[in-house]
Subunit: 155 residues, 2 copies
DNA sequence: CAATATTAAATCGTGTGCTATGTAATAGCA
DNA sequence: TGCTATTACATAGCACACGATTTAATATTG
């Protein structure tokens, strides 16, 4: 009578545990960030992805859609409707480029530019919610960026 | 003729830069993870969130929807349709609890259980894409979990 | 025991994010 | 110069994620 079970053929159990997955830590942290940002950005009338777009434009106004997409690692099907909604809100304009009509230039309106001052408290409030040192934040950030760049290279 | 501009009233510019935001590092890292997981999980017929649900059930079969939600920090509007699709794929069953009919118990089917072995290579392939040490991964994971818990406490 | 409050899940509506596809403009080549 | 290939963006369809609301079951209270 053979009581000895064969060794499992799959990955050792602990590598397939939810909490062993770095991706789940990233995913669930992002869920947490969304929760915090949703509250903070509600007063500004922005969703989190819209806020990211505004951050990009506040830094460098008048970009092509593709340039915004490159900056945020987002594609056209995501950006086009999102930018349309920002345009409807009067925060940006979308104009065909005169030199190349395939390109759409996204520019801040006065209201869009003015929104930057209203959003000035956001990073501080987020830092408060995080409740950890600037050094930790900076270290985490640069490590995540390195991972992101590795992941984005997969093809 | 006053050539001196008044100091800006908003947050110092570097705090409102996109790349200064930890949340953007997390967000864009998750975009990268999605890209990698989408490819790996395609052969299993799973999306990334569905994979997370399967990880939970492989660990502990027969949970209530709310228990899965607590485990993954996800709400009913997300989980109900997702679980329905897993049921349609024949990977889980959803049954009303006899002792409390408000509760739905989610159980793995034979196919759902068997899928675990097919998914055995996933964590290893992800680790390869990450191209960094297990120690780094573990450290990042625990730090992110700490942040997540802080963020989730905001209310 | 009946009425009310609470709980668990389902549904609805909105905004993403991505693959696939379509449209229009520009570039490149013979 | 005309044709083809490439580029930039828009659209379509699907799967999330979440606040708001609804439905049904259970718990609590008088």
């Amino acid at each position: 009578m053979d009581r000895k079970k064969p060794p499992p053929e799959q990955t050792p159990p602990d590598l397939q545990r939810l909490d062993a997955q770095l991706c789940f830590a990233v995913y669930s942290t992002m869920l947490g960030f969304n929760k915090v940002y949703r509250k903070l950005l509600k007063a500004l009338g922005l969703t989190y992805p819209q806020y990211l777009v505004m951050l990009v434009l506040w830094e460098h106004d008048g970009l092509r859609v593709s340039e915004i997409g490159e900056r945020l690692f987002l594609d056209f099907p995501t950006l086009t409707p999102l930018l349309k909604r920002l345009e409807v809100q009067g925060l940006v304009t979308r104009r065909r480029s005169a030199s190349d009509e395939r390109q759409v230039i996204v520019s801040l309106t006065e209201a869009g530019t003015a929104l930057k001052a209203q959003a000035a408290d956001v990073p501080g409030c987020v830092a408060t919610a995080l409740d950890c040192s600037l050094e930790t934040i900076g270290d985490l950030r640069s490590r995540l960026v390195a991972l992101r760049n590795n992941l984005m290279q997969q093809d």
